[in-house]
């Protein structure tokens, strides 16, 4: 570890490439915690948005008009407004209106911290897209499949859980994949409400060490790597789920 640090210090002195995140323990710790926050935000938001998408797509097939209307309204609203304004609306707008609670020290604090608000708003944003994606997958499942399941005595939820959703998931995995990559990229917006994720700590680091270009390139590479990992996992999942005739995985 010491050798590596020394080498990077030498690199800085000879070439001017100042990678403080490698040789400086404080910066390294900061950067790693930022990276951890990005991964945490992404994983939680991805899981939450998939749940929102699956539940929303189920509710869209509801016989009740009001439920359908509410889900449609949610999807349309969240798809057509900027995610940054959504985050501001939730964090500044709703966060101020909601009552405050007392924490362990007796201080009056908001119900949700900025990290939690970021998770809520990012999940809702990506969830709205996921509802549409799942719906398109469900529409691609032949109607006769549903009818056959109904004839076997499945309830509406049973049909959805055991027949429709597994098939629809395989059909819509490529577009789901796309949206989750988008979500991972959108987590940078949490920067705006001071969530200490990768972009935020990078800004702190380049303000302290005056190494904007280097950190910029590190940042781009880090996000490319994160997206690459996500895409790799999704492809593995797609392959594992593949059944002949459904989605792209089956065709191969």
């Amino acid at each position: 570890m010491d050798m590596i640090a020394k080498w990077f210090l030498e690199l800085y002195e000879t070439t001017g490439i100042n990678l403080t995140i490698v040789y400086d323990a404080y910066d390294r710790q900061r950067f790693l915690s930022g990276l951890g926050m990005t991964v945490y935000l992404s994983v939680v938001c991805i899981l939450a948005s998939i749940v929102i998408g699956a539940v929303g797509a189920w509710a869209q097939g509801s016989p009740l008009r009001v439920v359908r209307g509410l889900v449609n309204g949610f999807v349309v609203l969240f798809r057509n407004t900027p995610p940054l304004v959504q985050i501001f609306f939730f964090y500044f707008g709703l966060g101020q209106i909601l009552p405050r609670i007392e924490d362990v020290d007796g201080m009056r604090v908001p119900i949700l911290t900025n990290v939690q608000w970021a998770i809520v708003s990012l999940s809702l944003f990506a969830g709205a897209f996921n509802v549409e994606i799942f719906r398109s997958g469900i529409e691609a499942v032949p109607r006769t499949t549903t009818e056959a399941a109904e004839a076997l005595g499945y309830t509406r939820f049973g049909v959805y859980r055991h027949v429709l959703l597994p098939l629809a998931l395989r059909i819509c995995l490529p577009s789901l994949n796309n949206n989750l990559v988008n979500l991972l990229k959108t987590t940078t917006l949490a920067y705006a409400i001071a969530v200490p994720e990768t972009l935020y700590v990078s800004k702190q680091i380049w303000t302290d060490s005056q190494n904007v270009p280097v950190m910029m390139i590190v940042l781009l590479l880090v996000y490319t790597a994160l997206v690459g990992i996500l895409v790799f996992i999704m492809h593995r999942w797609e392959k594992a789920l593949a059944i002949p005739g459904y989605g792209q995985g089956g065709a191969r």
Binding site: R65, V66, G69, L70, N72, G73, V76, L77, R79, N80, T81, P82, P83, L84, V85, Q86, F88, F89, F92, G93, L94, Q96, I97, V181, L184, K185, T186, T187, T188, L189, Y191, A192, L199, K203, V212, P213, M216, L219, L220, Y223, T224, V227, G228
Partner: protein
């Protein structure tokens, strides 16, 4: 002619023609309509209005303006900010589209090296977060250029436009590549057998057919970039979101005003982007019919 139908059911009038004997006429495509206001939208609009106006009743103090009055008072300023957002989105889209078509053509070109390079650039800019690219453009582009003794200033908003056009370029390149790949290969072969050169095939046969396929995703991209322009406020361009927080500060920083003000910003973008989404859906459906 009429003897043919004598065996037809009694209800049939003389001179009627069996439907199966009618010539096939494709149903006319549905004309584009403005989205109908349904229960959903009414609920949404009323909800938004309540949210915006809600602050008025929460604080009944006499000297305080209600949220609606505040928005009305600052309406011209906020709208000028929104107009600036639209302007940035249009310019970024124009710049990104031109660059993206170039990159996309390189991606489907014959030069192996250029093809790999264009592919790598496309993937790189597609997978980088937009906000990071915006920071990239903001910090890496100098604030002025000196060309032949002339100083060309590069204000923040121009750099922001360049920052936004980078992801547009990459996505456009991918849209073009996808559209060309989705055409049946018979088109290329037919053109080759008619002695078209590769360039002629591309520009006279392939690309004109691709325009139709590229239009819906292109409009989608436009709507996305419009919604992304608010991110410029993070790097200090004074557009709608910046102005919104300034208005909030000018009104004394009342916390109950935040939700209405940001709600109003959401409403503006919704009103602008929702018709675009509907129109994109309509185009998608219409082009699928004719294929």
């Amino acid at each position: 002619m009429s003897e043919v139908f004598t065996a037809a059911p009694a209800a049939r009038q003389k001179g009627d023609v069996l439907p199966v004997l009618l010539p096939f006429r494709a149903p006319a495509p549905r004309a584009w309509r403005w989205p109908r206001l349904r229960l959903v939208h009414l609920v949404g609009i009323v909800g938004a209005l309540l949210l915006i106006g809600g602050g008025a009743f929460a604080q009944g103090g006499a000297p305080r303006l209600s949220a609606l009055e505040v928005i009305w008072k600052w309406f011209p300023l906020l709208m000028s900010g929104f107009g600036f957002n639209i302007l940035m989105s249009v310019l970024a889209m124009a710049l990104g589209t031109v660059a993206g078509i170039g990159l996309g053509l390189l991606q489907i070109g014959e030069n192996r090296f250029l093809r790999r390079l264009a592919w790598a650039a496309t993937q790189f800019f597609r997978n980088a977060p937009w906000l990071v690219l915006l920071f990239f453009a903001m910090f890496m582009i100098p604030f002025q250029f000196r060309v032949f003794g002339y100083t060309i200033p590069f204000p923040d908003w121009v750099k922001a436009i360049i920052g936004f056009s980078l992801p547009v370029m990459a996505n456009m390149s991918e849209i073009l590549r996808g559209a060309v790949a989705s055409l049946p290969s018979g088109q290329w072969e037919a053109a080759e057998s008619l002695a078209f050169s590769r360039r002629q095939t591309l520009f006279m046969i392939i690309l004109p057919q691709c325009v139709k396929r590229m239009l819906p995703p292109w409009m989608n991209l436009y709507s996305l970039i419009t919604m992304a322009t608010v991110q410029a406020s993070i790097v200090g361009v004074s557009e709608m979101l910046t102005l919104t927080s300034q208005v909030h500060a000018a009104e004394g920083g009342r916390p109950d005003l935040l939700a209405p003000l940001y709600g109003f910003a959401m409403l503006c973008f919704f009103v602008y982007c929702y018709p675009i989404e509907r129109f994109t859906l309509y185009l998608e459906r219409r082009f699928q019919l004719n294929q």
